[in-house]
Every structure is written in structure tokens, then in C-alpha cells.
């Protein structure tokens, strides 16, 4: 595997794990991290979260990653993958890992 690919995958793995933990802790989901598919819809036909959960989730993400999430588009928090992509694009790597 190319080192570039490896780095991208590694980023996804790490962010996914942390996002899933935010989901499970903040929303008190009765789930383990390996019971949440990264590409599954969080809202609607999928995990079935509601609009209250959306706000609690976003606050949790902002706290965990020390970042402001622009909530004008709900496509960012459609799934763990979309959240990961948002974070990869916006989080200062040093700041995010120095927790």
C-alpha cells in the first residue's frame, strides 16, 4: 500500500474511533464502537437519531476536537465518514492529537 494511502486510512481510523466514542457517550447509545458502520446514516433510515441528538452530537464534536462546526449544512453530520472528512479537512493536527 502506498504510504499516502496508508496515512489517509490511518487518519480515518483514528477520527472514526473518536467520533464513535462521542456518539456513544454523549447520546448514551447502547452500542459498542464496532457496532456502528462508518457509512451508515446517523439520521433517518439508519441509526435513527433525531434533531435533539444532532445538536448534542455537534456540541460533543466541538468539545472533543476543539473546532467549530458550521451547521448550516447538515451534510457534514450525515455519517461517521462525513464527520471524519470534515475533521480531516479542518482540524489542526497538532491541536487535535495533543489532548
Amino acid at each position: 500500500m502506498k504510504s499516502g494511502t496508508q496515512a489517509v486510512v490511518q487518519q480515518h481510523r483514528e477520527f472514526s474511533e473518536r467520533i464513535k466514542n462521542v456518539l456513544i457517550d454523549r447520546l448514551e447509545l447502547n452500542l459498542e464502537p464496532d457496532e456502528i458502520a462508518e457509512d451508515a446514516p446517523l439520521f433517518g433510515m439508519g441509526l435513527g437519531l433525531d434533531s435533539i441528538d444532532a445538536l448534542v452530537l455537534i456540541v460533543g464534536i466541538e468539545d472533543e476536537f476543539n473546532i467549530t462546526v458550521d451547521t448550516s449544512s447538515h451534510n457534514i453530520y450525515r455519517s461517521v465518514n462525513t464527520l471524519t472528512e470534515f475533521l480531516i479537512a479542518n482540524v489542526d493536527q497538532k491541536e487535535a492529537t495533543a489532548q
Binding site: 500500500m1 502506498k2 494511502t5 489517509v8 486510512v9 480515518h12 481510523r13 447502547n30 452500542l31 459498542e32 464496532d34 457496532e35 456502528i36 458502520a37 462508518e38 457509512d39 451508515a40 446514516p41 433517518g44 433510515m45 439508519g46 441509526l47 435513527g48 447538515h74 451534510n75 450525515r78 455519517s79 465518514n81 462525513t82 471524519t84 472528512e85 480531516i88
Partner: protein, 365 residues
């Protein structure tokens, strides 16, 4: 001789093309895949799903039977609610995807026509409590209505405010004098409603739908594959060609992991503990319309996956697809290669959905 839907003549009158699918005469195309896709994505599409398997499960033991057999939480399924879930075999392989409707004193289990026999068999095999299981498939016609404007239809048909019918819930109403079960459930990522109509009233109700929503376009079945792929809506025939597991396909949300019993549970929990070896991942082709000549997906010279679902999406402007990739590659943002008749083409894994639907933009409930 294929079984004909009670709605056959209306679709025939629209010039629909019919094909035999699982012993049913199905309207596969009406005005053309592209035009039908446009209707469902921008307006309202209507199609016939009467071949849907409908199994009624009644009696005191019904809920427990379904909860023990299927992967989802049926114990906690409220009245008037729908659970989209799976039936697995003992080895954890998907037998069928089903929808369970809790209609007070009776549960309705719906599934594709091709799965019905196996679903019936599994329910009967598990029926130690003596629940009453009936195949009511031929008794009801099914009309699907989907599109960003589809939310207007229940109002026009039965005076139902769209906000009063939440996703995955249903209600009973009267349309053209017939008792109709109106469910809010869609398959293509748009506002979707499914009507279960007594066979005798099928034509009258369809006529009422088309009359009250004149902008609704009658569609065929074939366009569904592309529309479902665009929003990564589960498609059993395409996504599970070879007994792949629900965990590999990313269907964790259909499984109630805290439940102590469901068919295939042991296999699922074992696989979960060991970790999946392959994952179903979305990808787009970084070229204009092209067809693949081999389903192999390569990282350089190594074959690390295979395509299972593939189509050209006008809305994405590219060919899109789903592929099983070795777990190490099963994440968005990875560059890989596929083979076409013109040589190697780059592809890029992405997160779903491939498109943002118009329905998503409309905030109603």
C-alpha cells in the same frame, strides 16, 4: 405464465415494458430510465410494488417469534411503527431484508417477491409459540410514491398532514372508499410513501392518486437500482451477490446487538469480535461514462477488491459504485484502479451518499 399485478392494465396503458421477475409480470420501464429518474428526484414518481411479499403474523406469540427470528428490535417496536431489518441464516448470511409493521393485533412482514418463500420457511421453522402465519401477498396491491414533492400526496389523498406521519410509521385511511394502509417509507432517499391497498380497490386507488397528483409520473422498476445506489440504500440483489455478511455490508444499524437471540447471532458476534476482513465501500470513477471490463479493483498490481454495484449517475456526473475491499482499504479517500475496455481507470473511494437529494434540502419534519 407470470402473475399479473392488479395494476397491470394502468401501466400497460402508459406504454410500460414488462418483464418476468420471480414469476411476476413487472413493469420495468415506462417513459425511460433517465426521465423516470428525473421525476423521482425532482417531482413525484409512482410505481407498482404489488409483487412485494406480505406475510401476516398474528397471535400472542407473534412479536416474540419475529424478535427471535429477525435481527432487529421487534420487542420494542411501537404500534404504527415499521422496522427495517434482516433475516439471516445460522451462518450469519443475509437471507432477506424485511420490513416489519406493527399493526396492533397483527404484524405484517414485507419482503421482495424472490425472498418470500425463504422468509415464510424461516418463520415457520421458528414458530414454537404457535403464532398464526399467513401469506397475504396476493390480497393487496402496493403503490409506491416517492419524490421531493411526494409529501403533498397524503394530504391530497386523505387529508393527512405530512408532519403527522413520521418516517417509518404508518396509518390507516380511507381512499376511494377502500381501507388503505399508508406508510411513510421510501427507498430512493426522497420523501416516500407506500400504500397497501385491497386488491379489489387497487385500480380505483391508483386512479385517485394520479388524478389528485397529476404531476406524478408512473415509473418502472428498473430505475430503482440507480436511485438506490445514489443514496446507498440497501439493495440485496446487488450488494450481497455471494453470501457477504451484514457487517461487511455495513448494515450494523439493522441489527439489535443487545438482543440475546436472533438467527445467526453467534456468527455475527464472532465476526464482530474478530473484525471484518472486507468492507463494502462507495467509490466513484474518475472519468466520464465508462464501463468496467473486469470487476477486479487494484492497488497497483494487487487485486484488493471487486465491484458489485455500478451505474452511471447523471446527478453525480460520473459512474459510481459499491465494491468489497480488503479491510485495510475500506475507507473513503483511497485511490485505486479498475479495468475498462480502454485500459486502467482511476477510482476514488468516497463516503455516501453520492448525491444530496432534493428531499434533504426540504425541511418539513
Amino acid at each position: 405464465m407470470s402473475t399479473m399485478s392488479p395494476l397491470h392494465e394502468r401501466f400497460a396503458a402508459q406504454g410500460a415494458v414488462f418483464e418476468d421477475r420471480n414469476g411476476y409480470d413487472i413493469a420495468v420501464r415506462t417513459i425511460g430510465n433517465k426521465e423516470e429518474a428525473d421525476a423521482i428526484r425532482n417531482g413525484i414518481g409512482v410505481w407498482d410494488a404489488s409483487d412485494l411479499g406480505k406475510i401476516m403474523v398474528r397471535g400472542g406469540a407473534a412479536r416474540e417469534l419475529l424478535d427471535r427470528t429477525l435481527t432487529g428490535d421487534i420487542e420494542g417496536l411501537y404500534e404504527n411503527a415499521i422496522r427495517y431489518t434482516l433475516l439471516l441464516d445460522e451462518d450469519g448470511r443475509i437471507v432477506a431484508d424485511v420490513q416489519v409493521y406493527n399493526n396492533f393485533d397483527e404484524f405484517m412482514v414485507t419482503c421482495s417477491a424472490g425472498s418470500k418463500a425463504r422468509v415464510l420457511k424461516a418463520l415457520e421453522a421458528n414458530n414454537s409459540g404457535g403464532a398464526e402465519i399467513t401469506d397475504a401477498s396476493d390480497k393487496q396491491a402496493v403503490i409506491c410514491i416517492e419524490g421531493p414533492k411526494a409529501w403533498q400526496v397524503p394530504q391530497k389523498l386523505a387529508g393527512l398532514d405530512v408532519r403527522s406521519l413520521r418516517l417509518l410509521t404508518f396509518t390507516e385511511c380511507e381512499i376511494s372508499g377502500a381501507k388503505v394502509l399508508l406508510a411513510r417509507i421510501g427507498y430512493c432517499g426522497e420523501y416516500g410513501y407506500t400504500l397497501f391497498v385491497p386488491r379489489e380497490a387497487a385500480l380505483a386507488v391508483l386512479d385517485t392518486v394520479l388524478e389528485r397528483a397529476p404531476e406524478a409520473v408512473p415509473c418502472g422498476r428498473d430505475v430503482q437500482d440507480l436511485l438506490r445506489l445514489e443514496v446507498r440504500s440497501f439493495n440485496l440483489e446487488k450488494d450481497i451477490p455471494n453470501g457477504e455478511s451484514p457487517l461487511q455490508a455495513g448494515l450494523h444499524w439493522m441489527i439489535h446487538f443487545r438482543k440475546s437471540e436472533f438467527v445467526g447471532r453467534e456468527a455475527i458476534m464472532r465476526e464482530k469480535q474478530l473484525g471484518v476482513t472486507q468492507k463494502l465501500v462507495a467509490f466513484e470513477v474518475l472519468a466520464e461514462n465508462s464501463q468496467f471490463s473486469s470487476s477486479d479493483i487494484r492497488d497497483g498490481a494487487d487485486v484488493i477488491g471487486r465491484i458489485v454495484n455500478f451505474a452511471y449517475s447523471e446527478r453525480r456526473g460520473r459512474p459510481i459504485g459499491l465494491a468489497y475491499l480488503a479491510e485495510a482499504y475500506g475507507w473513503p479517500g483511497v485511490d485505486l484502479l479498475i479495468h475498462s475496455e480502454n485500459g486502467e481507470i482511476p477510482i476514488h473511494t468516497v463516503s455516501a451518499p453520492f448525491i444530496h437529494t432534493e428531499s434533504n434540502r426540504i425541511q418539513i419534519s
